[in-house]
Amino acid sequence: MTAAAELRVTRDAGRLTVHVRGELDFAYEDQLVTVVTEALDEDRSAPLILDLTGLQFIDSSGLRAVLRCQQLAQAQLRLRVVQGPVTRLFDIAGVTDRFEYV
């Protein structure tokens, strides 16, 4: 049994959302960046939502993936989070204020 991240892109009212579920670590870092890069290629005009509410686990490689996505998307990126592994990690790393949220 190995944990996996599941990445899915949806479009709602013209707004793209990348949903990440499961466990985001080293094995899925590049994959998330690739998916976000493709979503940005598709639409550079609207906010891109990165929905992290379905994550059960994230570590510094997952954080690194999210920060890389932010570098690519810049102000276009918004995160959706709930209290849990993501907010705990962001607090420990001191990066909570580096992101915009929806």
Partner: protein
């Protein structure tokens, strides 16, 4: 109903009168050897969780996070050859959980600064050190990175938010936003 056998007498390892308490696992040790590939990070977590979930449920999330960071670091920086392996020894005793992660990389020291500015990397060992007591030594073959955390949460309720300081290791939360305050980073000096 009445012909059930009487409950067994408490065994030698059980606390007196602790009828309703599950037998506490006193000590447990296991080792795993993993290929130096990204998928090994979740395999290490799954192995730890499978063993620790029933013994130290309050500590599993924190332990998984630290182990994830150390195994990732060993793969990223401590595995110069494709067939290198990462060795993980996990040791749970009455008071604490500890784990050693051994790699084949060049020696590094732990430094006390968090990543700054717009850096995207360098958080791994910092996060590990904020969550556990962390040491590193080089044994001539590679680095031996050890983390230790108390087995029990010491009177602090678990819940959202950063892990409390429970190991005697000073925990400092880096200030929000750019600029000020004291910062602390522990990371591999490549």
């Amino acid at each position: 109903m009445s012909d059930l056998p009487p409950p067994p007498a408490p065994g030698a390892g059980e606390a007196a009168g602790g009828r309703a308490e599950p037998t506490q696992v006193a000590a447990l040790r296991f080792s795993i050897q993993l290929p130096a590939a990204p998928i090994s990070v979740s395999v290490a977590r799954a192995a730890l969780t499978a063993v620790a979930q029933s013994i130290i449920p309050d500590r599993v999330h924190a332990a998984e996070l630290v182990l994830s960071e150390l195994v990732t670091n060993a793969i990223r920086h401590g595995s110069p050859h494709p067939d290198d392996t990462i060795e993980v020894d996990i040791d749970i005793d009455l008071d604490r959980l500890s784990a050693q992660v051994r790699d084949r990389g060049p020696a590094f020291t732990l430094r006390a600064h968090p990543p700054t500015g717009d850096q995207v990397g360098g958080f791994g060992l910092y996060i590990a050190a904020m969550t556990s007591h962390l040491t590193v030594r080089h044994d001539g073959h590679g680095n031996v990175v050890t983390f230790t955390m108390p087995r029990a949460l010491t009177g602090v309720p678990s819940g959202p938010g950063p892990r409390p300081a429970t190991s005697g290791h000073p925990i400092q939360h880096p200030p929000r936003g750019p600029g000020g305050g004291q910062r602390k980073r522990l990371s591999a000096s490549e």
